[in-house]
Point group: C2
């Protein structure tokens, strides 16, 4: 199977599939013309990866999950461990973002939003109690 075909069936961009080969998540064979030739198992792996990534698992977690996927002697406990710590991470992030949302909402509500320069949002940003207010550990990335 060519990469375009696999891309369509797995829902992953061809670029991503090549990237996944690069980092060793799949090892398609090659034809004489240099084209990648994907087996059905590769397609299954890629679909697995797509689903795992869409659930927010990191590439390294996906790598581990993939090895468990291929290990028919695996313990479900190992899978559960990974999912559980990921869930905990997600929930921590949610709390972080909720605190952030509350702060922002408060500022937005209090800002008149007219043509005068006077602005509670700016006031907050220029507050001089600098260091210790940065509770959100500076890593509040979306």
């Amino acid at each position: 199977m060519n990469i375009g075909n696999v891309s369509e069936q797995s829902g992953l961009p061809a670029k991503t599939i090549r990237y996944y080969e690069d980092i060793g998540l799949v090892q398609p064979s090659r034809r004489d013309n240099g084209y990648r030739d994907f087996a059905v198992q590769d397609l299954h792996k890629l679909a697995f990866l797509g689903r795992a990534r869409s659930l927010g698992f990191s590439i390294e977690e996906c790598r581990t999950l993939l090895s468990l996927y291929e290990d028919h002697e695996r313990s479900s406990a190992d899978v559960k461990d990974i999912a559980q710590s990921h869930l905990a991470r997600v929930d921590r992030k949610i709390e972080e973002l909720q605190a952030l949302s509350a702060t922002l909402r408060d500022l937005v509500v209090r800002c008149h939003g007219d043509d005068r320069p006077d602005c509670p949002i700016m006031d907050d940003l220029t507050r001089s109690d600098l260091a210790e207010m940065r509770k959100h550990p500076a890593g509040t990335t979306l």
Copy 2:
């Protein structure tokens, strides 16, 4: 003021401050020995940036906010617009993560987590209704 001093007072790592200079957010002058010499205004700017970043504003938003900060003729509406769309982004992210959390929690709860290979989490990841299930737009990054 030397960078170490500014770093301590603003709470930003020296590396970050140099980076902010690199991308044009601050323009400290230089001493004869090549050391950066920060004015009090630079310190204020950096503290402003630190607070804005901790609220999750992107660097480009910070750049705009900084120009509004320095513009005493600004309209608070301009500030509010930025904060509001950021808030909307945060809230969208929260919803996304909450859906994710619910899915993960369901899977985790249903997994026995024992030494047998049987596992609902794996079952989910190997589901073959591939493409359309990826509602989370593959960009569910923490």
